[in-house]
């Protein structure tokens, strides 16, 4: 694994109009993804993960801040340059069924990006596709099949094959496991890890599934109401979560206990997640945090380094450290 940064995000923000109000989907987020590294992104529904994923590969422009891939600023890049960069920045979504064109074969679907970017002759493309299908654990025989003849897990593999067609450096995976069974999730995770090791691919892996994220990622980022509240190497985050929300999030995973008697009580965080429209002042987590102090209600905590490569935004840590 190299530590060469591939993607550098600096203070990006993005808001959307919601009726007369504006909601801050992403607020002043900074982060780095190294070459060949998996950055896992977790957080509750609506916390801004998908928006950040789209901003990261230039599918959407931020209101402020910069996004650099291989040193090129995607925000100020010319359309031609951005198009060139897009080859190395790909995304796979949850809903493979609707992301694929159902009227043409699996092979044509995978070929589409090659055609759009004018890559290779038709016969070279065909050969490429055979290789890609095998790369994701399918066979050349799946090429002529129509998408509706494949299972959910196979479709997700086809999506990954299509995203790999242009030889990307970074793949954003947005909830690609959600629609898959446990057994098939395990198959897809193994494939992603294998691709990372052999092709030196980096991932921004967005998922509700905390186990999958911790299994796959070298670094994990935690979002809450549009902010990146903690960001650290996986081991450090699991062993010493700095932010109370991170702790609550990982405590809420229900593991299989050793016996009925050994069940842990269902840990509870009070209250529901605030609506993005009524964003709490100060720390966004103060309405549910067990450690809330006076300062938390008025002053937003800054993201600061709390350990080696470990960053968190919480007054309690700052006070303690």
């Amino acid at each position: 694994m190299s530590d060469r940064p591939f993607l550098q995000i600096q203070q990006i923000s993005k808001s959307f109009a919601l009726g007369k109000a504006r909601i801050d989907a992403v607020r002043a987020v900074s982060m780095t993804i190294a070459e060949g590294e998996t950055f896992g992104l977790v957080g509750e529904s609506g916390s801004g993960k998908s928006t950040l994923g789209r901003l990261a590969i230039g599918l959407m422009k931020p209101d402020a801040g910069s996004v650099r891939a291989s040193g090129v600023d995607l925000v100020t890049a010319s359309p031609a340059k951005l198009r060139e960069m897009r080859k190395s920045l790909q995304i796979v979504f949850q809903d493979a069924q609707s992301a694929l064109n159902g009227r043409v074969s699996v092979a044509s679907n995978i070929m589409e990006p090659l055609v759009i970017h004018n890559q290779g002759t038709p016969s070279e493309r065909l050969r490429r596709i055979g290789g890609l299908l095998e790369r994701v654990g399918l066979t050349a025989a799946h090429g002529p099949a129509m998408p509706d003849e494949l299972s959910g897990g196979q479709l997700q593999r086809v999506m990954i094959a299509r995203a790999l067609a242009l030889g990307p450096k970074l793949l954003v995976c947005d909830e690609i496991l959600s629609a898959l069974d446990l057994s098939v999730q395990a198959q897809v995770l193994s494939l992603l890890e294998d691709l990372r090791l052999t092709e030196h691919l980096a991932y921004l892996f967005i998922s509700h599934n905390l186990s999958a994220v911790s299994y796959l990622s070298q670094v994990i980022g935690v979002m809450y109401l549009g902010e990146l509240v903690e960001w650290a190497p996986t081991k450090s985050l699991l062993e010493k979560p700095g932010h109370p929300y991170t702790k609550a999030l990982f405590d809420s995973i229900l593991d299989v206990p050793e016996s009925k008697a050994a069940r842990k009580p269902l840990t509870i965080l009070p209250g529901d997640i605030p609506s993005v429209i009524d964003r709490p002042k100060g720390c966004p987590f103060h309405t549910r945090c067990p450690l809330t102090m006076d300062i938390c209600r008025t002053v937003p905590p800054q993201l600061v380094q709390v350990g080696e490569h470990h960053h968190a935004a919480c007054h309690a840590i700052h006070a303690a450290g």
Binding site: E44, L182, S183, L189, S190, T234, L254, S259
Partner: protein, 327 residues
């Protein structure tokens, strides 16, 4: 203990799809009074279809090929629609898988929670209002008075799920059938909702059937687990037996695919392939095509449930043979 619901040899198919689908293929299970039963299995294993069939809630072209579903001395599959209306919501409460299906988007929250009490003439309106408010508070909905006047779209997913549970519990049913009640929720909210659901059901000594594909959820809240595949029971075990002594290759496959929270990659065990759709009634073991231990007999003969302990049974020829060898 007495049996609340007893399903016998249920078979359900969908004839009019271009290839007939055999969704439930001889399912038998029972749930005892006060028990919390988990039903687990991959997508398409027939969990929802079999329970919906028992409640006469299957829509479209579903066909019940055979079976019985005994509840209070009546076979629910053969009860008249009108009689069914006095059972649904009153004796059996339901929380559905799909969040959107459960609540009426055009009706205020309060009215929806009061509705089962008024429809079944359990009390007058002011009393229904009082009970609804206290139920919502019990289920952890903050500021119930204010939420009472709101519409479902104004609530978060976790709040909506609390309201759906309130609707299901409003008429104090004996049996609650909850189909993936927390699947669509974020982890911290899932734990909150499970916790209030558990407390509310315990207090009322209710019997619960909970469908889930999450073994973490099942093993943390259920007293017993039934594992389904191909519309049949693969294994049925009291929770400690399920956790410590499950024997069925499919159960072991499901357990092996759980991703451990280790923070470091190791090899994941996987079940080969993905859950099958059955266009013919499975002749042998429905899991045979994916089972690493399958042998000849598995292709031709359907394994029967073999008793392995007081509260543990499994349907697998391998287990059957081992038992025969030992005994």
């Amino acid at each position: 203990m007495s049996t609340v619901l007893k399903i016998e040899d249920l078979a359900v198919s969908f004839p009019s799809t271009d290839k007939r689908i055999f969704a439930v293929n001889g399912l038998s299970l029972e749930v005892e009074r006060g028990e919390w039963l988990g039903v687990v299995g991959e997508s398409g294993s027939g969990k929802s279809v079999s329970l919906l069939a028992c409640l006469q809630l299957l829509t479209g072209d579903a066909h019940i090929d055979r079976g019985r579903a005994w509840f209070e001395g009546k076979d629910l599959l053969r009860v008249k629609r009108k009689a069914m209306r006095t059972i649904l919501g009153r004796k059996i409460g339901m929380v559905f898988q799909n969040l959107a299906n459960g609540l009426d988007p055009a009706m205020r929250i309060g009215a929806q929670v009061m509705e089962p009490m008024l429809a079944h003439a359990l009390c007058n309106k002011p009393e229904a209002r009082r009970r609804a408010l206290s139920l919502l508070a019990e289920l952890g909905l903050s500021d119930p008075e204010r939420q009472f006047e709101r519409y479902p779209f104004e609530l978060s997913g976790g709040m909506r799920q609390r309201v759906m549970i309130a609707v299901a519990l409003a008429a104090e049913p004996e049996l609650l059938i909850a189909d993936e009640p927390t699947t669509a929720l974020d982890t911290t909210v899932q734990v909150q909702v499970l916790s209030v659901l558990q407390a509310a059901c315990r207090k009322r000594q209710m019997t619960v059937i909970m469908v889930t594909h999450d073994l973490g959820v099942a093993t943390n809240v259920c007293d017993r687990v039934v594992v389904m595949y191909g519309g049949q029971v693969m294994e049925n075990a009291e929770i400690d037996a399920f956790i410590q002594r499950s024997v069925h290759p499919y159960t072991q496959g499901l357990k092996g695919s759980m991703i451990p929270i280790t923070g470091s990659s190791g090899t994941l065990q996987q079940i080969q392939g993905s859950a099958a759709i059955f266009h013919q009634v499975p002749v042998g073991c429905p899991f045979a095509a994916r089972c690493p231990h399958a042998f000849e007999r598995c292709q031709t003969e359907r394994p029967k449930l073999v008793r392995l302990g007081a509260e543990h049974e499994a349907a697998c020829h391998l287990v059957d043979q081992e038992c025969a060898n030992v005994g």
